[in-house]
């Protein structure tokens, strides 16, 4: 166990009384006051997250787009400068290397934002496939990232930035001065709420963080740890690598078919396997379910139907916004039917659950 990495906001977290935990080699805040309270604040007002541990990889040069198109399943050719997209990145088997965001910063300049836990693996994978006139640089350690999420995000951020945030549509971004720091302001997030993800030089992050906390004081803004980040993404059915996604599952099985552009002009890694799988039909599928009996499903628990194993839970939790115990998991396609009653094995006992529609939580769009 080596020395854990600390983000430039570490001291501020300590001051705010955060409970710190190890996460992917980083020492990160898991909660400040409590997961449920923080979760509800994001749903009703706004929350501030340190996500500086995420990886950023800069891909630059005339061959940048060609390399990205080869690596990801989605179609980055349709991106304009100032636009971002979400995509899985696959092995030739169709299994998932990672899921990421692609930002088009300039004509031949892109940012890939990847999971902290996969950053080194991803960087190696990208370097392995690098060809033509393109440079690939890991800029994670010098980049800070702060997420501001929740219905009041725009009101809060507009106080400390010089741009008209109303003009930034979902999955678009602009460069702006935020609290005097040069910031990439992106209308994206991982909570199911409206909000922004802000990228800046790592040393500028504390200034932005403090200015936002100050600006959000009267709006109910609170700092939020990784604990509530997980429950928020879970309610919104946003997948998490290592749970819903890994090298065994394909994007089609994970319900991410709309991010697999089989018809894009370029060939991409995994295309053959995914085309074949699409033609033959998937044998298992990610579903959401609610517990009917008392119990909380957790990752790794077995799912059965009539005493026969049909799959396993990938994420499960008490869902704070809904007050129910819910789960996500893979089941055989034939069983992936709405209202189907399934059994989750919790501590050697079979407990009843029912497949329900996802996302579990959807915000009302005004």
């Amino acid at each position: 166990m080596g020395e854990l990495k600390k983000t430039t906001l570490y001291e501020l977290h300590k001051k705010l009384g955060a409970k710190m935990v190890e996460f992917s080699g980083w020492e990160m805040p898991v909660q400040y006051t409590g997961i449920i309270e923080e979760h509800k604040a994001v749903r009703s007002a706004a929350g501030l997250f340190d996500v500086s541990h995420m990886g950023e990889i800069l891909v630059k040069g005339p061959g940048a787009l060609a390399l990205i198109q080869k690596l990801i399943t989605n179609d980055a050719a349709k991106l304009t400068v100032g636009q971002a997209l979400y995509s899985p990145m696959c092995y030739s088997s169709g299994g998932i290397v990672d899921d990421l965001l692609v930002y088009r910063l300039g004509d031949d300049e892109y940012w890939l934002v990847v999971n902290a836990s996969n950053k080194d693996k991803d960087f190696g994978w990208i370097k392995d496939h690098q060809e033509g006139k393109v440079t690939v640089e890991d800029i994670s350690d010098k980049t800070g990232q702060i997420a501001l999420q929740g219905p009041r995000s725009q009101e809060i951020l507009s106080q400390i930035t010089d741009i008209n945030l109303g003009e930034i549509k979902y999955f678009r971004f602009v460069w702006a001065e935020t609290a005097g720091v040069k910031t990439l302001v992106s209308r994206t997030g991982y909570t199911g709420e409206d909000g922004f993800e802000l990228y800046m030089n790592a040393e500028g992050a504390p200034k932005v963080w403090q200015a936002l906390l100050e600006a959000g004081k009267d709006y109910g803004l609170v700092p939020v740890g990784l604990g509530a980040r997980d429950t928020l993404r879970f309610e919104a059915r946003l997948p998490l690598y290592g749970h819903e996604l890994n090298e065994e599952y394909t994007p089609l099985e994970a319900g991410l078919g709309s991010f697999v552009a089989l018809s894009k002009a370029e060939d991409f890694i995994g295309k053959e396997a995914l085309s074949k799988q699409k033609a033959e039909g998937i044998t298992r599928k990610l579903v959401g379910f609610e517990m009917l009996d008392r119990g909380i499903p957790r990752a790794g628990y077995r799912i059965e139907k009539n005493n026969i194993s049909i799959g396993e839970v990938t994420s499960g939790s008490f869902a704070p916004s809904l007050g129910k115990n819910l789960g996500l998991g893979y089941v055989k396609s034939a069983e992936a039917v709405l209202d189907n009653e399934i059994t989750v094995i919790i501590r050697d006992k079979g407990l009843r659950a029912r497949i329900i529609k996802t996302p579990f939580y959807k915000r009302e769009v005004k």
Partner: protein, 126 residues
């Protein structure tokens, strides 16, 4: 800081002993370490448990944790309020957040005084 009339286990349970009756719960340190408690699994009445045996489960948003008996004996009452209000364990771990009552047949040989327990968690925090 930790009520001196209680005894404690190394697994962070407390036991309040009155004659041959015991009330058992988890300590303030344990509830803080768990975070928001969202589920409690209680044992059946009349069940016989051995000292050190896991008789129930407490789950927070992020963690699943066994609750172990500080004594051997028979379970005579369970706190059913926890089924609908598990957060009582966070709010009042030594009062409304009690978990079970037992008729004691034998105490664990490894119970700690409040002072010894405080030493233990001070060491854990290092």
């Amino acid at each position: 800081m930790y009520p001196s009339h209680l005894k404690y286990t190394r697994e962070h349970e407390w036991i309040s002993i009155e004659g041959d009756k015991a009330v058992i719960g988890i300590t303030d340190y344990a509830q803080k370490a768990l975070g928001d408690v969202v589920f409690v699994e209680l044992p059946e009445l009349e069940r016989r448990v051995e000292a050190g045996e896991a008789f129930g489960v407490v789950e927070s948003v992020k963690a699943v944790s066994d609750i172990n008996a500080p004594c051997s004996g028979i379970i005579t009452a369970v706190n059913e309020a926890l089924l609908d209000s598990p957060e009582l364990i966070n709010q009042d771990p030594y009062g409304d957040g009690w978990i079970i009552e037992m008729e004691i047949s034998e105490l664990s040989e490894d119970l700690l005084s409040a002072e010894e327990y405080e030493d233990l968690i001070a060491r854990e925090a290092e």
